[in-house]
């Protein structure tokens, strides 16, 4: 018996049982369904979000139904009209859109040389240093970073102290629009660099040499060769940064001090301060709409298919 055990170890027995089970439960003629079976758990998980969105839609109708007792079809419109008739929301929407655009532009401008140097440098050490300097803030989280900026930009903070050394009066650096935008740019830089880097890697270095041997100086090489060729990365990075900063909550809340609300903050306030679920839900769907619209416009202007950036294959 002992020799049987060594000849047929436990692991093999487990595997054979599993194989047999698989054969019984899933015969070969079902094999066409295997990929769908593998995708099913992911589809089910994301379904939670879809149900959640349906709940939001339902919630916005529900409140209005109770207040007016009229068929719900009219209420959806009335709900959005009420939300959009308030100048406050328009101001917040405008602030978010403008902020997101500025943040996207700045993030792309500053992320590009960083990604370029990281990809092109011959020194493995420098590359590792740049990668670590990028990942550390990326992995630290928004709240901690915002807290760091509070220490730096506060009235008795590092920045004002240093300004004091050169004889400048303490400035109010926090709780204004530029502070929020600055915090957002810092938050977005790692995303932008990580989306840009693969696109720059894909540009062969020889093409740059070719451009310069044909007489282009580095600026012309950059504008005529590198920039156009890294378009997929720019669009991918731009999309991610734009949507993330448009819908951000923490930076406006912490660095804006309540005076620089973005759309997400307004939604939060509707749910938890005013407790007007219907209005909050309407605003949420409106934000989803704006986000999709922005993404759609970028797709039509800069070409589709770049969303595959986030995915290995098309």
């Amino acid at each position: 018996m002992r020799s049987y055990r060594t000849a047929y170890p436990f692991r093999w027995r487990v595997m054979d049982t599993l194989e047999m089970l698989a054969r019984v439960l899933w015969p070969n003629r079902f094999s066409g369904a295997v990929p769908y079976l593998m995708l099913a758990p992911a589809v089910l998980l994301v379904l939670l979000l879809v149900i959640g969105m349906a709940q939001i839609a339902d919630s916005s109708l529900h409140v209005l139904d109770r207040s007016t007792f009229l068929p719900s079809a009219d209420f959806t419109l009335a709900n959005y009209q009420t939300a959009l008739r308030q100048p406050l929301y328009w101001m917040i929407i405008w602030r978010s859109l403008l902020g997101a655009a500025v943040v996207t532009l700045l993030s792309l401008i500053f992320a590009f040389p960083y990604a370029y140097l990281m990809v092109r440098t011959p020194s493995a050490l420098l590359r590792k240093f740049l990668l670590i300097a990028l990942f550390l803030p990326f992995f630290i989280g928004q709240v901690v970073r915002a807290y760091g900026w509070l220490i730096i930009l506060g009235n008795q903070g590092v920045m004002n102290e240093m300004l004091g050394w050169v004889g400048i009066e303490p400035q109010r650096l926090l709780f204004n629009y530029p502070a929020v935008l600055f915090g957002l740019v810092q938050y977005m830089l790692p995303f932008a660099v990580l989306m840009l880097a693969p696109a720059i890697t894909a540009i062969p270095e020889e093409i740059e040499s070719a451009a310069s041997s044909l007489g282009a100086n580095w600026w012309r090489t950059f504008t005529h060769v590198i920039l156009p060729m890294s378009k997929p990365g720019l669009v991918g990075a731009g999309l991610v940064v734009l949507t993330l900063s448009l819908t951000d909550f923490a930076m406006p809340a912490v660095l804006g001090g309540g005076s620089q609300d973005f759309i997400a903050n307004a939604i939060y306030d509707q749910f938890f301060r005013t407790s007007d679920q219907g209005m909050g839900a309407a605003l949420t769907l409106f934000l989803v709409g704006i986000g999709s619209l922005v993404v759609g416009v970028i797709f039509t202007v800069f070409g589709a298919g770049t969303l595959a950036m986030g995915r290995g294959k098309k």
């Binding site: 589809v43 500053f110 807290y147 590092v158 810092q186 909550f249 923490a250 949420t284 995915r311």
Partner: protein, 266 residues
């Protein structure tokens, strides 16, 4: 060929600014956590570890940190099988409606976090599971799932269908083939994806803010709530816990798969 001086200057000035902006909060938080004063001033007055002692003995903070760890662990444990299977399926097979399916699986990215959070809050509320820890883990898993799938598909280039056929030819049944041939090929993606999922869930703020109450508050939410009242050095010491976690994950990433994996073009 050496780069012209003006190009080097432009690149280095901009990279220097980015480096400064990226590291400033981390450095300042680190510095502030070692202060011996009761408020944060610059330059810090004296060196002490008193704030670390303070947070170590704070039961509430320890509880919040343990809850954050639990959430991150649940998120990662779910994401590994779900994301790996989905990633392999997307990379290996020709699937009907592949494009629509990809758009669907990218929904967690395209729906704003506040929308996902509130939707899940309403859904969990109706199911009566709001106020427990594990739904937060599931929520973090859902909103970050594309990262996991992306990481797996990115390493699927190593996936050679001939190898699987060879295994079958040598008599390996399907499950053995999967564990000995398919899975090892995408292992770097699984590792980097799961580390990403863990650290993102550990740091997750907005969705946790919506799904937690006073009893289930996670550490980032706890920090956020304290920031609004008053800035004290103990917050800096807690933040250093996050910095340490981030450093550990980066070290693991570098050891197990190499950070360069993120620079590869697909």
């Amino acid at each position: 060929m050496t780069a012209p001086l003006s190009k080097s200057i432009v690149i280095w000035v901009m990279v220097g600014l980015v480096l400064l902006t990226l590291s400033a909060p981390t450095v300042v938080v680190l510095g502030a956590s070692f202060t011996s004063g009761n408020i944060i001033v610059f330059p810090p007055n004296g060196f002490s570890l008193q704030w670390y002692g303070k947070i170590a003995s704070d039961v509430g903070l320890r509880g919040a940190f343990m809850r954050s760890l639990t959430v991150a662990a649940i998120c990662t444990v779910i994401a590994i099988p779900v994301g790996t299977l989905a990633g392999i399926a997307l990379a290996k097979y020709a699937i009907k409606f592949e494009r629509s399916l990809q758009v669907y699986l990218l929904l967690p990215f395209t729906i704003p976090l506040i929308g996902s959070g509130i939707g899940l809050m309403l859904l969990f509320g109706q199911m009566g599971i709001l106020g427990q820890i594990w739904p937060i883990g599931i929520a973090c898993c859902v909103i970050n799932l594309p990262f996991m799938i992306w990481a797996v598909t990115a390493s699927a280039a190593n996936l050679d269908p001939d190898l699987e056929l060879a295994a079958a030819n040598c008599g390996a049944p399907p499950i053995a083939t999967f564990f000995h041939v398919t899975l090892p090929a995408v292992m770097p993606g699984v590792i980097s994806g799961s580390l990403l999922m863990f650290i993102l869930a550990l740091n997750e703020f907005l969705v946790s803010l919506l799904l937690t109450d006073a009893r289930t508050v996670t550490l980032p939410v706890q920090i956020y709530n304290s920031i609004r009242s008053i800035i004290t050095p103990d917050l800096a010491a807690i933040s250093v816990v996050f910095i340490a976690c981030a450093a550990i994950i980066i070290a693991l990433l570098d050891r197990l798969v190499g950070l360069d994996i993120f620079l590869k073009s697909k």
